[in-house]
């Protein structure tokens, strides 16, 4: 099999999909995923920016970019970024661990989404504080149609 070419520049569709006015109480994830990340701490909206297409034709592969406003120096940097799905059978999609040497708190990947939902990115900074952003995405063809 021939490996797919690296995708060209970022998102296929004009992205940016702020779900306005969301606060932490409006995020609904099963199985205590967020609780296990936050360990009782509070999270605030801001500093994190999650970009997803507003409409994804194929839930098997949805491009996603998460950026955190951070100087990424020894004293102030992003330690981890968690991506949480509302509807996937496994809500925690990925965790990225960053260091000051990462230089810029920006990660792009492609996720599976089992249906239209709100996706949340939670960043933990080096001072221990949690920040998040959420984006609503309409998925035309869900991933994980079998057995889930």
């Amino acid at each position: 099999m021939v490996l797919l070419a690296l995708p060209r520049r970022v998102l296929a569709q004009p992205s940016v999909n702020p779900a306005p006015g969301i606060d932490a109480r409006m995020l609904n994830t099963p199985q205590g995923t967020m609780q296990s990340i936050l360990q009782g701490a509070a999270m605030r909206r801001g500093r994190v920016r999650l970009e997803l297409p507003a409409i994804a034709d194929d839930g098997h592969s949805v491009p996603l970019v998460v950026r955190v406003d951070s100087p990424m120096n020894d004293g102030d940097h992003v330690q981890r970024i968690d991506l949480v799905s509302e509807k996937n059978p496994v809500p925690l999609m990925a965790t990225f661990f960053l260091r000051p040497q990462t230089g810029r708190a920006e990660v792009e990947s492609r996720v599976r989404l089992n249906g239209s939902q709100r996706v949340t990115a939670i960043a933990q900074l080096s001072d221990g504080s949690f920040w998040f952003d959420a984006a609503d995405v309409v998925v035309n063809e869900s991933a994980c149609l079998d057995g889930s």
């Binding site: 099999m1 490996l3 797919l4 690296l6 995708p7 098997h60 592969s61 949805v62 990424m72 991506l83 799905s85 996937n88 059978p89 496994v90 809500p91 925690l92 999609m93 990925a94 965790t95 990225f96 661990f97 960053l98 260091r99 000051p100 040497q101 990462t102 230089g103 810029r104 920006e106 990660v107 792009e108 990947s109 492609r110 996720v111 599976r112 989404l113 991933a143 994980c144 079998d146 057995g147 889930s148």
Partner: protein
């Protein structure tokens, strides 16, 4: 496992290096059944790490929520000339790696 890494060859000290990695892997979720009704066992690349001159600079813990043929794009701050090496391992303990050399100037 086939994989590609794309990194600029040269960078300025203190500047940013963009790293793009694409790995050929089914990222089997464990939720699929074959034609005989048997469940396909879950097998995802659960750990991915990137080292720059031997020092870990980025790590990802991935689950079934990452699409097949996982793609990652992230940054590394250029410090000294050296190798950017990415390694990963899946749940069947198959590992892989790719690396690229970066020359840092200035």
């Amino acid at each position: 496992m086939t994989a590609r890494i794309q990194v600029q060859r040269e960078a300025r000290r203190g500047g940013l290096i963009e790293v793009r990695v694409l790995i050929q892997h089914p990222m089997e979720t464990g939720f699929r059944y074959d034609s005989l009704g048997r469940q396909t066992p879950r097998n995802v690349i659960h750990r991915f790490e990137c080292r720059y001159s031997g020092v870990e600079v980025f790590r990802a813990a991935m689950g079934t929520g990452i699409a097949a043929n996982p793609y990652l794009r992230f940054f590394v701050r250029a410090e000294d000339s050296g190798d950017i090496e990415c390694r990963w391992i899946d749940q069947e303990n198959v590992s892989g790696s790719v690396s690229a050399r970066v020359t840092v100037t200035g």
